[in-house]
């Protein structure tokens, strides 16, 4: 039995060490002043939040839990009171979200644009077209395949609105493939299968070197990609950290942050990934 108890003691020491270190003493403090930011993958994958969040945390003392999901899922979290503040890019769904009383103070933060990308050989012949809807229609009649996110993200919602404008129903069609994945993975799928897809410019620029997909259509007003910050309605969900959410939303539209957004990505990609828009009217963008 002596050897056995030596083992037992060793194991229990290890267990205690693990449990003590696993509980992380800092965690208790962080829970008090933490806010949950539900956002789209593009803001995280582009690296913008990695720059902004540490500044915010240092300035206000809040600890930000960034949950990067599609805009659809982010708003679903807000609808259940499981997030405090949203940074999303799905304007029509956002308006509905506000109208239903789930969120307050929807404020414009920034924009960039969507682009239609595809194989350089461009079998549907859409290169340089001015209208996204015309390009979509041409893709369907050419027999080429279109790869969709299919996840109710901001990008997918935008894609659906373009299909609507083009007057094409794509659900269940053979040439319409849905990945259900994030933008980066969907671009990889499109690249491998040499298909067309709709993407935000930031994610495309970040992945460009490994893709071999070209920008074929850009600049149409419908391709505008607009980001808003929304505070989840504390009157509906008492557990929401209203003060923290307001602090973060104010921070996103503050002058110093808008300045950072303006130059973010220039060093790496040669052009900015986002254009700051705080205080502007949504319908004046892209004119």
């Amino acid at each position: 039995m002596r050897r056995a108890s030596k083992w037992g003691i060793l194991l229990s020491i290890a267990a205690v060490l693990f449990l003590v270190s696993g509980m992380l003493p800092a965690e208790a403090a962080k829970v008090q002043k933490s806010i949950i930011l539900a956002t789209t993958t593009s803001t995280q994958d582009s690296g913008l939040l990695d720059v902004l969040i540490p500044i915010f945390e240092k300035k206000t003392g809040y600890f930000v839990k960034t949950i990067a999901v599609g805009s659809g899922q982010a708003m679903a979290m807000g609808r259940k009171g499981e997030a405090d503040v949203l940074l999303v890019h799905s304007p029509d769904a956002e308006k509905k979200f506000i109208a239903e009383g789930h969120g307050i103070k929807r404020r414009l933060v920034m924009h960039n644009d969507f682009i239609i990308v595809g194989p350089p050989s461009d079998p549907a012949g859409i290169r340089g077209l001015k209208s996204a809807a015309v390009a979509f229609r041409k893709i369907t009649v050419s027999g080429a395949v279109f790869t969709s996110r299919g996840d109710y993200s901001g990008t997918h919602t935008k894609e659906i609105s373009i299909w609507k404008k083009a007057g094409v129903s794509c659900e269940g069609q053979k040439w319409y493939q849905q990945t259900g994945l994030g933008m980066g993975q969907t671009l990889s799928v499109a690249a491998e299968k040499k298909t067309y897809t709709l993407t935000d410019r930031g994610t495309y620029l970040a992945l460009k070197k490994n893709l071999g997909l070209d920008i074929l259509v850009e600049g149409d007003a419908i391709l505008l990609n607009i980001y808003h910050v929304i505070q989840v309605n504390p009157a509906k969900w008492p557990k929401v950290n209203a003060a923290g959410a307001r602090a973060f939303a104010d921070f996103m539209v503050s002058r110093s942050v808008q300045k950072i957004i303006k130059t973010f990505g220039v060093a790496k990609f040669g052009s900015p990934l986002f254009f700051p828009d705080a205080g502007k009217k949504e319908d004046t963008l892209g004119r």
């Binding site: 696993g22 965690e27 990695d50 969040i53 839990k65 960034t66 980066g184």
Partner: protein, 232 residues
């Protein structure tokens, strides 16, 4: 091919320069999965031994449940733990969703059936007569169980390795309940997923290699212990 070579080069660079972020992520992965494995050992060996040494009506049904649990999909565990831990959910008052603690809970749930199943099989294959012999020598029931566990030490160490291997490599639950928050709940697997979607394939491959090296070292230690005790 270039990407693979870049990835290996990046892994070597990150390992030898002791990159503080990567070291932090690795250490956190170890702490979380280690704690989860320890919890699963206490519960799993307990239940496995109890089921192995007793007989009761419906025992086969329980055993089949445990064996099915060994194939429990991590994303499903992640989904249920998330729903339970939502702040407006049944366990919301704990306020632990999107924390390392939440990942420990999810991983412990994933590892427990694995440890239970292997422990059960290990204890069952001990000769029946051994029990009688130990009792006949005047041991109490508790002493008997302890001696049996020591007899089954080799397969039980295999249970540790399988449990730890299952959770350290798991990504679905960790990303759902942990949220992949930088410097806080980001572990090796969730960081790999994120770097892949960011197009940083070299860093993603590097993180994958670090995960493999790390899992190898842990298993090397456990194997050393296991094989040293091998009966001649």
């Amino acid at each position: 091919m270039d990407i693979l070579i870049d990835g290996i080069r990046e892994a070597i660079r990150l390992l030898f320069t002791l990159d503080s972020e990567v070291m932090g992520i690795t250490w956190l992965s170890f702490k979380i999965s280690g704690t989860a494995t320890l919890i699963s050992l206490v519960i799993g060996i307990g239940i496995g031994t109890a089921v192995a040494l007793t007989s009761f009506p419906g025992r086969r049904f329980v055993v089949s449940l445990i064996n099915t649990g060994m194939a429990l999909p991590p994303v499903v565990v992640g989904l249920f733990v998330t729903i339970l831990l939502w702040r407006n959910g049944p366990l919301g008052f704990l306020e632990i969703l999107y924390t390392p603690t939440a990942i420990i809970i999810a991983q412990a749930i994933i590892a427990t059936p694995i440890v239970t199943g292997i422990s059960l099989a290990a204890m069952q294959q001990l000769p029946k007569k051994l029990r009688l012999q130990i009792l006949a020598l005047g041991a109490t029931r508790l002493q008997m169980v302890w001696i049996l566990i020591r007899e089954a030490k080799l397969p039980l160490l295999a249970a540790v390795m399988a449990g730890f291997g299952g959770v350290i490599s798991e990504v679905g639950a960790s990303i759902m309940v942990g949220g992949n928050i930088k410097g806080y709940s980001r572990v090796l697997t969730t960081a790999t997923v994120m770097e892949t979607s960011r197009g940083n394939f070299d860093i993603a491959i590097a993180l994958g290699i670090i995960l493999l090296v790390f899992a190898y070292l842990i298993n090397l230690i456990l194997t050393q212990i296991q094989q040293r005790e091998r009966p001649r």
